[in-house]
Structures are given as C-alpha cells and as structure tokens.
C-alpha cells in the first residue's frame, strides 16, 4: 500500500465527505432551531436529484441555472413540509416530531415510487464533466472537483450568513431560546421557515451532486445519505454548523479509509461500522466534537 494509494483514498473521502457535510448542515440547523431530528431530510436529497433530472432533460436549462432551480425547488419543499406538518406539532414532545418525520420520509419515498416508479434512472452530466484529471498519482473527474468546490463555496457562504447577517443572528437567537427571541420581536415562524428552506436547499444540491457522482438515482436513494449525514451531524455535535461540516468530512474519510485500507472482507461491514460509531458517540460524547451543551441527551 503506497502513499499514492492513500492519497487517492483521502481525496475520495473528501469528495464523499463534502456531500455528507452539505446534508448534515441542514440536519443540524433544523435540529438546532426546533430540536427536531428530521428524518425526512435525506429524502430531500432524492427530490433534489430528480429535480436536477427534470431541469436538465425536460426543461433543458444550462448547468448553473439548474443548480439554482434545484436549490429553490428544495427550499420550497422544505417550507411546505415545515408548514403543514412540523409547525402544527410545535411544542409537542420531541419524539412526536421524529415519528412524524419518519412518516413524511415514507410518504415522500412512496410518492416517488408511485409517480416515477422504483426503477433506477440514469443520470448523466455533460461529457466534459466526466473528464479525468491527474494530479501526481491522484486522479479524479471534473465532476468530483466541481462537487468539492461547490460544497466549499456553499459552506463558506452559509457560515457567513449565519455569522454576519440579521437573519443569521435571528436564527441563532431563536435556536437558543425561542420565547426570548419572540420577546425581542423576532418572528420565529419566519426564522424557522428560513432554516428549513436553507437546509433543504443544501440537501437538494447534495442530491444533484450525488446523482452526478454515482450516475443513478431512484426514489429510495435518500435513505443512505440521510442516515449518514445524521451520523455526521452527531459526530460534529448536533446543532453546530461547523460541527456538521467537520463531521461530514470525518465520516466521509473514515468510511473510505475503512473500506480502502482494511482487508476486503471487512468492507461489507461498512454500514455496521458507521452506525456502531453513531451509537458509541451518542453514548460517550453526546455533544459531539463541537456541539454546545444544549440539553442532555443521555
């Protein structure tokens, strides 16, 4: 096993990790503001992937416009889900929202199966995206580079938005204390809606990337990235955006290295490894790496 091989694995891990991170950010933001583990978040990835297909093939938009449309579509989906199902449950025990999100997830998947059939569809970006680049002993496709750079740009934008803008400050204030935020004149319905919109939009972009990287999409495809991003969010500390980013990259790298460096017979244990990690972290490090002590989890 030479250093070139390891470098290649690291690059693969970073690319996978950047997609996990994008989804994990939304998970974490939504959790942070309404203490909801939104299981349906992964299915937004699926909606993003199908929206991409629709905008490319049926509408025929150019690529950057496609990304924008996918983002906005998924923002809309996030807003609708929040408005019709989570808002009426606000104030109920946390588990209630979680079960509901499980229900919404099943609903979205099956609406996908009903309207689009369960058959996987091919998903292809323009040929130049598939060109392979070499950098020393490491090789990757242009699409991989685009995924990674787009993810980084989005993350930086988001961090700045949350750090610097009025909306961002309001989001953080609401996340910390919803009643006091209201006493300060913040319309928490708007802040929460914005959080769902932004989180879902990012997940939609991750769907676009997921399709572009793996070449196939289907109505159940959101399950795995959804779960794994949740694990990533927990590793980083649910509620913390930098934590979600860090957790996404750690998980992506750990997963790729687990498969790439251990003997092949272990690679089919990959998912058990991921969820074993989840359980261990929940127990020994409930606030994750960067999470704040918002409440007790154990």
């Amino acid at each position: 096993m030479d250093s070139g091989y390891i470098a290649q694995q690291l690059v693969n891990g970073l690319i996978l990790g950047s997609m996990y991170a994008l989804v994990a950010i939304g998970f974490s933001m939504i959790y942070g503001i309404v203490r909801l583990i939104n299981f349906a978040h992964g299915d937004i990835v699926m909606i993003g992937a199908f929206a991409t297909l629709a905008f490319i093939e049926t509408v025929g938009l150019p690529f950057p416009l496609v990304a924008l449309c996918v983002f906005l579509t998924c923002c809309g989906v996030g807003i609708v889900i929040e408005r019709v199902s989570f808002r009426p449950m606000r104030g109920a025990p946390q588990v209630t929202g979680f079960i509901a999100s499980l229900g919404i997830s099943i609903m979205l998947q099956n609406i996908g199966i009903l309207t689009l059939s369960a058959q996987p569809r091919n998903f292809s970006f323009p040929g130049y995206m598939q060109t392979i680049l070499h950098l020393g002993s490491v090789s990757f496709r242009i699409i991989d580079l685009v995924i990674f750079l787009t993810a980084i740009v989005l993350m930086v934008t988001l961090v700045l938005l949350v750090k610097k803008t009025k909306l961002g400050i309001a989001m953080r204030a609401t996340a910390e204390n919803i009643d006091v935020a209201r006493l300060m004149g913040i319309n928490i319905n708007h802040t929460i809606m914005a959080t769902f919109a932004i989180g879902s939009g990012l997940a939609g972009i991750a769907g676009l990337m997921w399709g572009g990287k793996f070449g196939q999409i289907d109505p159940l495809m959101g399950y795995v990235p959804g779960l794994k991003s949740f694990v990533a969010a927990v590793i980083g500390g649910v509620g913390s955006i930098p934590g979600a980013i860090l957790g996404g990259f750690i998980l992506g790298l750990a997963e790729v290295l687990f498969v790439g460096l251990l003997p092949p017979i272990y690679s089919s244990y990959r998912d058990a490894f991921v969820f074993g990690t989840l359980i261990v972290i929940l127990i020994i490090l409930p606030n994750g790496l960067l999470g704040k002590d918002l409440e007790d989890r154990a």
Binding site: I37, S85, P88, M89, A92, P93, Q94, V95, T96, G97, F98, I99, A100, L102, G103, I104, I106, M107, Q109, N110, I111, G112, I113, L114, S117, A118, L227, F230, V234, S268, Y269, D271, A272, F275, G276, L278, I279, L282, I283, P286, D296, R297, A298
Partner: protein, 330 residues
C-alpha cells in the same frame, strides 16, 4: 358482587379466538388464512412494542431487529436436516446437533431476542427520547449487516427459504392470547404502575424509588421476547427469511399501529393492528391491478401524521376503553 369485566373480556377473547381459529382453519382458503395470521402476528408485535414504548416512555425502533434474531434462531433450530446439505452446505457441524420442534424453537428464539435486548439495553438505555430512537434504528441496520455477512448460517442476502410452514391460526391465536394476557398483567401490576410513572415524570419516579434503568430494561426485554416469537411465527408463515425484510419500514409499520392506537393502550394496539393489516391487504390487490405501488404506505403515513397533529395521544391514549374494562377501573 362486583363484576370483573377485564377477566370476562379475556375469557371472551380466548373462547372467540379458539372458535374463530377452528372455523377459519377448516373453511377459509390459504389467502384468507395468511391474512389472519399476519393480523395476529401484527397484534403480537404492536402489543409488545407498546409494552416497551407505551408504558415507559422509551422510544425504541428496534423491534424488527429483535424479530430477526428470533426468526433466524427459530428457523435454524427447526430447519429440516435433509434440506441442510442443499441450502446450507457450509453450515457449521457443531450447530447441526441442535434441532428442536417448533414450539421450543420459538421459545428459544424469543429468549435469544430477549438476551440481545438485554445487551442492547445495557448500552443504549441511558439515551433519551429521540436519541434512543436513533440509536435503536442504527441497531436495526447493524443486525441487517451482520445477517448479510454471516452467510454460512444465514445464506446472506439470499435469505433462508424452504422453512416448514408450521405457523397456523392456532399458533398465532395462542400467542396473541399470551401476549395480550401478559402485557395486561404487567400494565395493571405494581410494576406496570411504576412503568407508567417513569413515563409521566422521570424525576418524580426516580424520587419515589422506581429504578429507571431496570424498569426500562425490563420493558425492552419483555417486548423483545415477543418480537422474537413474532419473528419465528412470521418466518414459518411465509417460509422464508431475508435480512432486508427486517427494515426500518417494518419498524415504521409497527410504530404506526402503536401511535395510532394510543401509546400505552393495549386495546388500542390490538384494534390498530387489525385495522392496519386489513387496510394494507386491501391496498395490495389494488396496487397490483392498477400498478399504483406505494399507495398503501402513503395512506398509512398520511394517517400517522394526521393523528400526530390532531390527536397526538392516539385513539385511546393510555387508557383501556370501557367496553373492555367495564365501568369500574382498577
């Protein structure tokens, strides 16, 4: 003399289930029989998950994992020796000598599931609310991965098939009665009251000397035992087991029954299990005839979300309704 309505209700349930099983085994066709058995198995699952989740306020999604453990153990213990060379050529020899008839095999399966629940409980029961839910969900996936990889005894993703079709309405009715009876007894015992106390207010329960951890472990273990039994019944009903069947979707279906019936209400779980199994079975031919796959799940999920919005405690809450209890509640 005061009437003991629950006891009458139980007697009526036993007699009518016996008569019903007898009639239906002799008169109905295989399709109807299968639906009846599925309904019964779902009752066992819903009532036992209700014991775990409803009485103590735990929230476990792990039922399918316990079903898988029970199902595989039962299937391997009853697997006909003459079929083994064909289906399981690499089956470890030392395991060959364990062969049991259906009933003891079921019990061993149930105990196996209970033992796994004991181990799981030690590790995750300290987590709260939705974090526990997520950890148990991870546990489903871990069990699936393990089953997929232990192919010398499970045949991996292919699954075990060619199981004997032992399960019939007598077995299922019997287990429905046992499950309902035991969960009922637990609910109305002093232990049950301490469980409900844990659910209502952890701190207060702790202060009253209720041991949170052991009460919860007990609820998880007993629930898992019946899930294991249900897994064994299920495997020997459809005569096959695959790791993929014990999925989050299955967990979701059981959760829907418990939540809609009322977390904590045994009657609610029983009725919800009956209604949901029949609804899903009604949708199946519809889905196949019109090619509209997924409608059943959509309807169920929609129903769940509506119940959570408009009546979060479910149809019966934690109560048992008057038609079972009579006017005087214990």
């Amino acid at each position: 003399m005061e009437m003991n309505r629950p006891r009458y209700s139980l007697a009526i349930m036993i007699i009518s289930l016996t008569v019903f099983s007898f009639l239906i085994e002799n008169m109905a066709n295989d399709y109807i029989l299968a639906i009846v058995c599925f309904t019964g198995i779902n009752i066992v699952l819903a009532v036992s998950l209700n014991l775990t989740n409803g009485f103590t306020g735990l929230f476990s999604l792990g039922h399918p994992a316990f079903m898988a453990v029970g199902g595989y153990i039962t299937a391997l213990l009853t697997f006909p020796a003459e079929k083994k060379p064909l289906f399981l050529p690499d089956f470890p020899q030392w395991l060959d000598s364990f062969h049991l008839p259906f009933f003891p095999a079921l019990l061993v399966g149930g105990c196996g599931a209970a033992f796994v629940a004991f181990l799981v409980g030690i590790s995750v029961l300290r987590l709260k609310g939705h974090y526990l839910a997520v950890a148990t969900m991870g546990f489903i996936i871990i069990i699936q991965v393990l089953l997929n990889n232990a192919d010398t005894i499970t045949r991996g993703p292919l699954g075990l098939n060619g199981l004997e079709d032992f399960t019939n309405t007598y077995w299922v009715s019997g287990w429905v009665i046992v499950t309902v009876y035991i969960c009922w007894k637990i609910k109305f015992s002093s232990l049950g009251r301490s469980m409900l106390a844990v659910r209502e207010d952890e701190m207060a329960a702790n202060a009253l000397g209720v041991n949170l951890f052991s009460t919860r472990s007990f609820a998880l273990i007993v629930g898992a035992f019946f899930a294991g039994i249900a897994g064994g019944l299920w495997g020997h009903l459809i005569t096959a087991l695959t790791p993929g069947s014990f999925s989050l979707l299955m967990s979701f279906n059981i959760i829907v029954m418990v939540v809609v019936g009322g977390t904590g209400s045994i009657t609610g779980s029983v009725l919800a299990a009956i209604i949901f199994t029949l609804t899903i079975e009604c949708f199946r031919p519809l889905e196949e005839n019109f090619g509209i796959y997924g409608v059943g799940e959509i309807v169920m999920a929609l129903f769940l979300v509506l119940v959570l919005i408009f009546k979060p405690s479910g149809i019966f809450g934690t109560e048992e309704p008057d038609f079972v209890m009579g006017k005087h509640k214990p």
